[in-house]
């Protein structure tokens, strides 16, 4: 078993664990953080599978733009309602 196989297995197990945590978190901001780290690990997966174009797009959109938009939305919603 080479190093790349071990990295593949670690990344896949962490992906499933983070997806579970993102669904089951109690607070929304934690869900967003788990979703962001899931995107970051998906980038590693794409690089291992030799798809650098998809990896660049996923890194920018999945873990950058979407996360910050979610965080901004949560900040804006918290103003009107009570604690989320």
């Amino acid at each position: 078993m080479t190093l790349i196989n071990i990295v593949e297995i670690v990344v896949s197990v962490l992906l499933i664990a983070l997806a579970f945590l993102a669904i089951n978190s109690k607070t929304l901001i934690k869900s967003v953080m788990f979703l962001s780290s899931l995107s970051m690990l998906a980038v590693i997966g794409f690089v291992i599978m030799r798809a650098p174009d998809v990896a660049v797009t996923e890194a920018v959109i999945g873990s950058g733009l979407v996360t910050s938009l979610f965080v901004f939305t949560l900040l804006a919603v918290r103003k009107a309602g009570k604690k989320i």
């Binding site: 959109i61 910050s68 938009l69």
Partner: protein
């Protein structure tokens, strides 16, 4: 009990997918495929029209399609019409956001947080680096991974960082709108020029040059820079719509 049932169902579905894929002859393991029988080999060798010429990085000239990055060769040259449709989809979605959230009298959304000194200085320092990386990725789209769409999104993320750094900041939305419509029209005009002069919509009119040079691949870098500017200004407009509200 409910969670347990859900776990059982997920495991069952996962087992079904894995066992089906493991015995499927149309889904071989990674690295086992004989790529010479696949259609992708035609794109890699630039052999779609049958004029086989050896592809050597840094030497080959006058190939069927110029970009060194094969994904760009497919996205912006062989299938450029699809990319025009993709750009149109993004334009329609930003139009929908502007219709729902836009208005004449707008001000910044009041967030329940104010940036401190570190965030303000750090964001200003990072803004230039992210903007430069986005422009670099857009310009080198025909050589390295990336291209117009990720580059444009990176430009928009740098604008988002400025919004984060300063609670009074608002982008010049009017300039973004002018840039967006100009670049979008330029893409269509380039396509129509190809139709008039070359006989096909989005025909590559310029010489391809040496494979792997910065100034190579004819129209492809121009088209990708236009797409990068268009996507960047479009998503910046969407972000501005999200972070403003109607008011005095």
């Amino acid at each position: 009990m409910k969670n347990f049932l859900a776990l059982l169902l997920t495991l069952f579905l996962g087992y079904m997918i894995m066992s089906w894929l493991a015995t499927n002859e149309f889904f071989p393991a990674m690295g086992d495929v004989d790529v010479t029988t696949r259609v992708s080999q035609k794109y890699i060798e630039r052999d779609v029209n049958g004029n086989s010429e050896e592809v050597v990085f840094g030497e080959a000239t006058n190939l069927e399609s110029g970009p060194a990055n094969t994904v760009t060769a497919i996205v912006a040259d062989y299938r450029s019409f699809d990319t025009l449709g993709e750009v149109t989809v993004l334009f329609v979605s930003s139009l929908g956001v502007a219709l729902l959230l836009g208005g004449t009298k707008q001000r910044r959304l009041e967030l329940n947080f104010h940036p401190n000194f570190m965030l303000r200085v750090g964001s200003r320092a990072l803004f230039g680096i992210i903007l430069m990386t986005g422009i670099y990725i857009s310009i080198h789209g025909h050589l390295t991974p990336g291209g117009g769409f990720p580059g444009g999104t990176m430009i928009a993320s740098s604008m988002l960082l400025l919004y984060l750094a300063d609670d009074e900041f608002r982008a010049k939305v009017k300039g973004f709108k002018i840039l967006e419509s100009t670049t979008g029209s330029a893409y269509v005009i380039i396509g129509l020029l190809g139709l008039l002069l070359g006989g096909y919509f989005l025909e590559n009119l310029l010489v391809n040059g040496v494979l792997g040079d910065l100034f190579s691949a004819g129209m492809i870098p121009i088209i990708y820079i236009l797409i990068g500017l268009k996507v960047g200004s479009e998503i910046s407009g969407v972000i501005d719509n999200f972070l403003t509200e109607e008011g005095v």
